[in-house]
């Protein structure tokens, strides 16, 4: 499979979860395991551009896919616009949910570039945050959407 644009090739047991593969075989520990029961979204990555919970996907199911993790969003010194917006709007406290939250938001804004506040809340319903109370995350997502449409229009 391709991970953040580079080829990864390992022989793994079929039962290897995608999140385990990314962390242990590829050494990409940015993706977190929160609940391990498909609920919290901390493990969210993009598979061919769509958000998925990597604790509930086998590595073999992603064979041949293009995976993007939090490490792949901003290869240079500059933050990805969604990361920048989380930074500016205090969209994180402890940061445990953040990698998954940011990936879910990147996937969501791709599908819905100009969301309403309600759509943002529904868009991140698969991601739990125990610290922020979500308000600052929602503000960050709306700001990122506005910044993005400002750039492209």
């Amino acid at each position: 499979m391709s991970v953040n644009g580079g080829a990864q090739d390992h022989d793994v047991e079929p039962r290897t979860l995608l999140v385990q593969y990314l962390r242990e075989n590829c050494g990409l520990t940015g993706t977190k395991v929160g609940c391990d029961t498909s609920s919290c979204g901390a493990c969210t990555v993009l598979a061919d551009g769509e958000s998925v919970k990597s604790c509930t996907m086998l590595a073999v199911q992603a064979d041949g896919a293009a995976i993007t993790t939090i490490e792949g969003l901003a290869p240079g010194a500059e933050l990805h616009p969604v990361q920048q917006a989380f930074h500016e709007h205090h969209g994180l406290q402890c940061g445990y949910c953040t990698a998954g939250m940011v990936m879910a938001v990147v996937g969501f804004l791709d599908e819905n570039p100009n969301p309403t506040e309600r759509e943002v809340r529904l868009g991140i319903e698969g991601n739990l945050c125990r610290c922020t109370g979500y308000q600052n995350i929602v503000d960050a997502v709306l700001a990122a959407a506005a910044a993005k449409s400002g750039v492209s229009s």
Binding site: R15, S51, K53, E125
Partner: protein, 274 residues
């Protein structure tokens, strides 16, 4: 949590999937989106020896105009239902309820066929398909057969599909863009319904289906009959829990579920009538 070890084979077509099921027999299980099966395997509540992955059988992922019905491939993911213009125009209820399943991540992977074949009474789409009198097409070693929705759901996680059969297509009638209301009661946004009530109205016919009020999705036939004989929404909805045997769990007692069914059915009838 990591599943117990298993062998993994990928099917490239529905014929290949059926042949692999025949080859491995009872040891094998189909894997579609994995949104129900993988959590069970991680908890080791399911320990199949062989997984036959049909997730890449792309010719089973479609929403097509079938003339008098809409035909949906079993491997179509919830997200593709949610964004289908054909469904929005011809069977709006299925599009709309698909958007209520789980969260974005779950809808990107989970399929309508997996939802149906899993046979979980707490799932949303089976109740919709029951209310719509949908037809299920199953392919087995001896060929293909049609199964009516009222004969499909047999018990908790049990359906009329044989272990060597693959669900290939689901056919729903063209009911138009509107004429429905779905009341889903849950505590967290992404969760399954504690109780759900779906009401569809097509011409003079009002169909009522219940989520999580027994071991299978159910039709509230008593409510439907009362509406035919002219009962008000609240009189008809008072019958919503009759004949049901809901379970009790951390979220709700059986009595509370019965209460919810009556209230949610009344709200849904009022919404389609209003």
């Amino acid at each position: 949590m990591i599943p117990a070890g298993f062998d993994y084979v990928r099917a490239g077509s529905s014929e290949e999937a059926v042949a692999l099921l025949a080859e491995y027999g009872d040891d094998a299980k189909l894997l579609a989106g994995g949104m129900s099966l993988l959590p069970l395997m991680k908890l080791r509540l399911a320990v199949p020896a062989v997984l036959v992955d049909v997730g890449r059988v792309e010719d089973l992922s479609y929403v097509r105009d079938g003339g008098d019905h809409v035909a949906i491939g079993a491997l179509t993911c919830h997200r593709d239902l949610e964004t289908s213009e054909l469904l929005a125009a011809e069977c709006g209820v299925l599009r709309s309820v698909a958007a209520e399943v789980g969260d974005n991540q779950v809808r990107h992977r989970g399929t309508i066929g997996g939802s149906v074949a899993h046979g979980d009474p707490a799932s949303d789409l089976p109740a919709v398909l029951l209310a719509l009198d949908a037809t299920f097409v199953a392919q087995g070693p001896a060929g293909s057969r049609d199964i009516a929705s009222d004969a499909f759901f047999e018990g908790f996680l049990e359906t009329a599909l044989a272990p060597d059969e693959l669900l290939t297509e689901i056919r729903v009638p063209k009911t138009g863009a509107g004429g429905f209301a779905y009341e889903k009661f849950n505590r967290r946004a992404q969760d399954w319904a504690i109780v759900g009530a779906l009401v569809t109205r097509v011409g003079d016919a009002t169909n009522v289906a219940l989520v999580n009020m027994g071991t299978t999705p159910l039709r509230a036939r008593g409510v439907e009959a009362a509406l035919v004989s002219g009962a008000t929404a609240s009189d008809a909805a008072a019958l919503a829990a009759d004949g049901t045997e809901p379970s009790g769990d951390l979220n709700a007692s059986p009595e509370y579920r019965e209460h919810l069914a009556r209230v949610l059915v009344r709200r849904a009838i009022e919404a389609v009538s209003g």
